[in-house]
Amino acid sequence: MKLNMVYFARLKDSFGTGQESLETDATSVAELLVELRLRGGNWATELGHGKTFRVACNQELAGPDSALRDGDEVAIFPPVTGG
């Protein structure tokens, strides 16, 4: 299935991209993160254990167990700092 990935702020800079279309078999956020970490480099560092980041699925905050479906928009970003 295909996911529309979006990245923001420090993670966008670190990954060198703000969005990508990702072909994956991951069925949950946790599985997706395992797959992204396997890319190594900044992907492994930024999404590593002990790092703080947020995941949103279709613009709603998601947890590790959140299910993923074909066509979902999945965003990964640092904790927010607005206001």
């Binding site: 979006v6 923001f8 702020a9 420090r10 800079d13 703080t52 949103a56 613009q59 709603e60 965003a75 970003f77 640092p78 904790p79 927010v80 700092t81 607005g82 206001g83």
Partner: protein
Amino acid sequence: MQPFTVRVQTGRFDTGAEIDRLSCNPACGAVVSFSGLVRDYGDRQDVAALELEHYPGMTEKALHAIIEQAGQRWQLQAATIIHRVGYLALGEPIVLVVTACSHRKDAFAAAEFLMDFLKTAAPFWKKEILQNGSAHWVEAKHSDQAAIGRWQ
């Protein structure tokens, strides 16, 4: 009048006009506003400007959700949240929250609630640009996370 307004924009907003807009309901005896401005220090000293990024779509949803939560706790007759993004120089307004209620206690509390949750739940990110031209992303603050604890 649309009682609940959320706007994300690059341009300046007119604070007085926004307060006036919520000050014309005879049922509302109290209108409270909060303005957030670009300050000259944050994570570092000598901040010259901020660059703000957001997640279009999710931001608006998150802000409307925060207003809805406030509406469940207080008699919130009307509320406005305006947040700017892009390049903002020192002293520029960043955010405006206006609440209109029958009584001042609700208006004060709701405005503080909206700001506390905006800071931890709305997908905005600040980058500090220093006088020397260097820039870095602002780190999330534990104090902001702690601030929402008192509303639980």
